[in-house]
């Protein structure tokens, strides 16, 4: 890169047309040229001035940059750039090394515990009035709809809902609240446990359920869940592979994430290869600082941001399942909240 240092004229003979066009060199030039003075070859300094301000005109004098300073401007420029690069590198190094420090042998996040029946009842018992009032909620992103795909069904022939998530994952934690509610409209839960998301990830300690031992008994759908990784039970980054994916599940995850321009991430929910959830449906931050009971207690107030997020997402998921079941059961699929969500996804 061409640079100019003070005291060094840094010039190039014949700068080329781009330099010539944009400069004031089109001025009438002859008037600037002093006559009758001997040329001072190789001299440096200001151009000829005709004697003004006590300076004698010196023909053939080269135009130079500012007088020498302690540091050359080009040096300062490179130092400035280097400082920025160093700051960025320090940021990254501190982040990377800091995130892997905590490797205690003490379990820092307790194992999931069986969810109290009252808690499950509160979540699955959200009233139709609240659900309909919420509709698609606020701050909720709609699932992705895809047509023309082979039907995803279990060996029994029932349409399948495939969930791939992880216990450390805060977005999965947020999504599970809505899944518990939506799927309860098509069956009965057993084996649900409560836990929190990782304490060393975004939205640390988001209160949630886990599907690790959960079963949905339903006559209309099959729910298949994979909690692919554990929590960060022993500190930052201590998550491990937990429930393995089958090859078919891995292929679905890869295929449809890629189809929508995403890398494989959590959560991934495949509703019969018709509707897909890729990533968070809402910001888990709305659940920040709340435990399971506090979250469940908010689900009676349709204007609460927690209810708007959880129930709004649940209505979308309900509409997705209705698209798999031929809109059965009718009472669920014809509810105002479900229909609003279906219309928003252009499923109806």
């Amino acid at each position: 890169m061409s640079q100019v240092s003070p005291g060094d004229d840094g010039s190039t003979r014949r700068p080329g047309p781009q330099a010539r066009k944009g400069t004031p060199a089109k001025r009438p030039p002859a008037k600037a040229a002093p006559k009758g003075r001997p040329p001072a070859a190789g001299s440096k300094g200001r151009p000829p001035t005709g004697g003004a301000k006590g300076r004698a005109p010196r023909p053939n004098m080269k135009i130079t940059a500012a007088p020498p300073r302690r540091f050359a401007p080009s040096t300062l420029a490179y130092v400035t750039i280097a400082v920025v690069v160093v700051i960025v590198v320090v940021f990254v190094v501190v982040k990377v090394t800091g995130s892997g420090k905590s490797t205690s042998t003490t379990q820092l996040i307790p194992n999931p515990v069986t969810a109290p029946a009252s808690l499950v009842a509160e979540v699955t018992g959200v009233s139709p009035a609240v659900s309909n009032a919420v509709g698609i909620g606020t701050g909720v992103s709609a699932p992705q709809v895809l047509t023309g795909q082979p039907k995803l069904a279990s060996t029994g022939g029932k349409p399948e809902v495939l969930y791939i998530g992880a216990e450390f994952c805060p977005f999965c934690g947020a999504e599970r609240w809505s899944m518990v509610l939506a799927l309860s409209r098509f069956g009965t839960w057993s084996g649900l446990k409560t836990t929190t998301s990782s304490l060393w990830d975004s939205d640390p300690g988001t209160a949630t359920f886990t599907f690790r031992n959960a079963t949905l008994t339903s006559s209309s759908i099959d729910f298949v869940s994979v909690e692919h990784e554990t929590n960060d039970n022993f500190g930052s980054g201590t998550r491990k592979l937990f429930q393995p994916l089958t090859t078919a599940q891995g292929n679905l995850w890869q295929k449809y994430s890629s189809h929508f321009g995403e890398t494989t991430g959590y959560p991934f929910v495949d509703f019969g290869n018709k509707v897909f959830v890729l990533g968070p449906s809402y910001d888990p931050g709305v659940l920040a600082g709340l435990n399971q009971q506090e979250i469940a207690a908010k689900l009676t107030n349709p204007s609460d941001p927690v209810t708007q997020s959880i129930v709004g997402t649940a209505n979308y998921l309900t509409a997705a399942i209705c698209a798999m079941t031929g809109n059965q059961p009718a009472a669920v699929c014809s509810a105002t909240g479900t229909k609003k969500a279906a219309a928003s996804m252009k499923l109806s």
Partner: protein, 176 residues
Amino acid sequence: MARSMSDVDVEEEYDTVPPVPWWWPWVAFGLSLIGFGISLYLTIEHFQGKLLPCPANAVFNCTKVTTSKYSHVFGVPVALAGLLFYTGMVGINFPPLWKVPARWLARARLVMAVSGICFVLYLLGAELFSIQAICLWCTGVHVTTFFLFVLVVASFPLMQSRAVALSEWAEDGDEA
């Protein structure tokens, strides 16, 4: 027709003015357009309340970043601030303006580039240490801003010396 001695002298003086490498203006302008495009997209998505197409996992999450408290500065959405910044950058890096030997123009370009990279460092720190997530779209803008900063800072000495030399030459021409 033979030129006079004075014509030759002045032309030699002119020719000693350091030229601007042809690719500087175009690279700066291109980077500004890229930054403008991404900022425009982020601003539109911000005001439409849509989630960005972006991987969502433990490391990357655009939604987490763009809905965090760091998504606004003094009540102004960062996406909009970025759009305004790059609107200015597109203007000031318009290639013909790189040939204008005005000191204020070179300084304005430098001030904008340094302001931009300072804000990028602030946002990067927020992403890494407070939000704990990286927004890939934002990173695109950050990388663009960094390269623009490198180009503007590295070119500043030359732009400055060109401006000084040509303005002095112009002054002297007037005095004569």
